[in-house]
């Protein structure tokens, strides 16, 4: 196939290339100006709703949040202002940075633990189950979302409390009671409740599309099963696995329910710090500072994760 053949294949809805002077346009291809117009309309039709959505529901509120972080509160009433005190006061407090590091650590742990727990399940569903069984497994993964997350977390209290079901069962074999509720362990159980089904699904949709011939080739070359998983399957599904872990991190980083109702709010995460800040003195501007730091952190981590996911092999 020549270079001109390849350029001919690229004609159509693909954005128009700059043509070299004197280069012949393939037969039937639209004139450059016309092509640009068609592509522009086509692109606009499909990208405008998303663009508008992002402008209205992300960019505009984000800009408002930035402005809000400089407002003042007088007599429980917010007033537009340019007051940098909110930033210096919040960022100057050790309690903020302790909560920040704690939240970061908890979310990173949740992303690693959830991914590790989810992978064997998603691998088994993708590689070991029949088509029908796989469909049922996907359906079962969706079912938890039928019930409110708050209700699921509340029901965990019955299992995890000192006098709860798990400790009662352990007592029958002479163990416990183990303190599980109002601890980091409780928070982690809540995070798994929130993320595990979603992470399994995301991992699964990535593993399903791993080229089976690569696995067969590895086996033919006498690569062991475990080594095949880690050196063939995982790298091939890297994008999906990374995005699944990233979703887990994002969801848990801002979660308020599990740290409060299973972690006992002790010690507080950033989301609890936000509610504490708004509850007393209506300090929404200071809460906005915390929220903006959280958004900035998530943006950095999301960019890093996506970059890692799409990194070319060997680089």
């Amino acid at each position: 196939m020549t270079a001109s053949d390849r350029s001919g294949l690229a004609a159509g809805p693909v954005p128009a290339r700059r043509e070299m002077p004197g280069q012949a346009r393939p037969a039937g291809a639209p004139a450059p100006g016309r092509a640009r117009k068609t592509v522009s309309l086509y692109g606009l039709t499909f990208s405008l709703p998303m663009l508008l959505w992002q402008m209205i529901f992300f960019l505009a509120p984000l800009l408002f949040l930035v402005a809000l972080s400089f407002w003042s509160v007088r007599n429980f009433r917010m007033e537009p202002d340019f007051n940098p005190d909110n930033w210096s006061r919040m960022l100057g407090r050790s309690v903020f940075w302790e909560a920040y590091l704690r939240t970061l650590l908890l979310s990173a742990t949740a992303a690693i633990v959830t991914s590790a727990v989810a992978f064997p399940a998603s691998y088994a569903i993708a590689f070991k189950l029949s088509e029908t069984a796989r469909r049922w497994a996907i359906f079962l993964m969706v079912i938890p979302f039928f019930t409110s997350y708050l209700v699921r977390v509340y029901s965990w209290q019955i299992f995890l409390s000192d006098n709860g079901i798990i400790n009662a069962l352990l007592a029958k074999i002479g163990l416990g009671p183990f303190p599980m509720l109002n601890s980091n362990f409780g928070t982690m159980v809540g995070y798994l409740t929130l993320c595990l089904p979603l992470v399994i699904l995301l991992q699964l949709f990535s593993l399903i599309f791993v080229d089976r011939t690569l696995v067969e080739a590895a086996h033919n070359l006498r690569c062991g099963r475990l080594r095949t998983v880690f050196e063939v399957v995982v790298p091939a599904a890297r994008v999906g696995l990374t995005i699944a872990a990233l979703f887990c991190f994002i969801l848990t980083f801002g979660d308020f329910v599990s740290p409060l109702y299973l972690g006992g709010g002790d010690p507080p995460t950033l989301s609890i710090l936000i509610t504490d800040t708004t509850k007393s003195g209506q300090q929404w501007p200071r809460a906005a500072v915390v929220a903006l730091v959280m958004i900035a952190t998530l943006l950095v981590i999301a960019f890093a994760a996506v970059r890692f996911a799409y990194k070319e092999r060997g680089r």
Partner: protein, 377 residues
């Protein structure tokens, strides 16, 4: 002929009847409109429970009113909601007493006429409640109150053990003491333990001492709970003692069979107080006034004392008398029997109870910042 006249008479009667029926049918919408007029909507800003059917149903039926509640958690939240709403949004406002002055200073509530309310039936202590009057003018009417002390699990701790705030430091309660997540009652209790006669009016040295003492409690703490979390952790026995609350939570649990109680310790207890005001710019101020008259009457006070969401003491002496007739067990449980020498009002008269207030010598921000530091420690 007779047949004809009979027939004619029948026709006349028929026409008469038909006319009357048609008139009746045509008038029905007007009759219906009077008999089944749309209820008037009355907006109420309050803690949860105040506009629930067990409290408001009788008033709603009598005055053809439908309450539209907006519930809040905490005085700051209440002030924020009012500040962010147009004037006249809330017809009736229930607030904790310490916030009435701020409501008044911000111009959020209407002046009231004392003659409209049954202050003559109130115990003298509650007739001129601090903060509710400004330059001889009334702005809010006290409707209920309660005491905050040591809330404890009766299986784990005896009443004698719970009769001091020092029980929070007991070894057998390590990791089993919870906090109701609000700095005012918790810090107020530690201030009382430190021997401050006015727990919220303390100088810098005393404030430092309160903070130091509070920090020593941190290893004992098993969690910080909101309203729902406080209920569930006490009910399940996950927490065996709870700081910052009183009978308003344990009373509800106790009525439902949980083994929890509250006691006023020897260092003294705190009093929370709730009062009704009429929102500035309310278009239904007359109806709002009728509601406050109802809920502060003996009949309304009984409803308030036995509110399903959380019980409370009532300031109306006639209310105490009616409660002891209608629900003597609850009157006894809450300490509202007039012939009981250790009843709730006697405790106040003995000086064992201090009002929960905003800090006098420090800013609310200072107290809140310390609370955040304490939680994160």
């Amino acid at each position: 002929m007779s047949d004809l006249s009979s027939s004619s008479g029948t026709r006349r009667h028929f026409l008469k009847g038909a006319t009357a029926l048609a008139g009746g049918v045509l008038a029905t919408p007007f009759l219906n409109r009077r008999a089944f007029a749309q209820p008037v909507e009355l907006t109420m800003l309050a803690w949860y429970g105040h506009a629930e059917p067990d409290v408001v149903a009788a008033f709603e039926a009598e005055h053809n009113v439908k309450f539209k509640p907006k519930y809040y958690t905490g005085g700051d939240n209440m002030l924020g909601l009012i500040a962010q709403s147009p004037p006249g949004t809330f017809d009736v406002i229930l607030s904790d007493a310490e916030y009435v002055q701020q409501l008044n200073a911000a111009g959020y509530i209407e002046e009231l006429d004392p003659a409209d309310y049954p202050f003559g039936e109130y115990f003298p202590e509650f007739q001129q409640f601090p903060g509710h009057w400004q330059d001889g003018k009334l702005f809010s009417v006290l409707t209920r109150f309660g005491f905050l002390g040591v809330a404890y699990n009766t299986d784990a701790i005896t009443e004698k053990e719970a009769s001091t705030y020092n029980v929070y430091w007991s070894e057998k309660l390590t990791g089993k003491v919870g906090h109701f997540d609000w700095h005012l009652p918790n810090l107020g209790q530690i201030s009382l333990l430190q021997g401050n006669a006015s727990p919220y009016d303390i100088d810098e040295d005393a404030w430092e001492a309160v903070q130091e003492k509070m920090m020593t409690l941190r290893p004992q703490i098993g969690g910080f709970f909101d309203y729902g979390g406080t209920f569930s952790s006490l009910q399940s026995g996950q927490m065996l003692a709870m700081a910052g609350i009183g009978d308003w939570i344990t009373g509800t649990l106790e009525r439902n069979g949980a083994k929890v109680r509250s006691v006023i310790p020897e260092e003294g207890g705190l009093q929370w107080t709730e009062s009704f005001s009429i929102g500035k710019g309310s278009a239904k101020a007359d109806l709002a006034k009728k509601w406050i008259q109802y809920i502060t009457s003996a009949q309304g006070q009984v409803k308030s004392a036995t509110m399903a969401a959380y019980p409370a003491l009532i300031p109306n002496k006639a209310g105490w008398e009616l409660l002891s007739k209608e629900d003597p067990a609850e009157a006894k449980r809450q300490g509202m029997l007039l012939d009981d020498p250790s009843n709730a009002v006697e405790m106040i008269r003995q000086g064992r109870i201090k009002y929960r207030q905003l800090p006098f010598q420090q800013s609310l921000e200072d107290w809140n910042d310390f609370w955040s530091d304490y939680k994160g420690a």
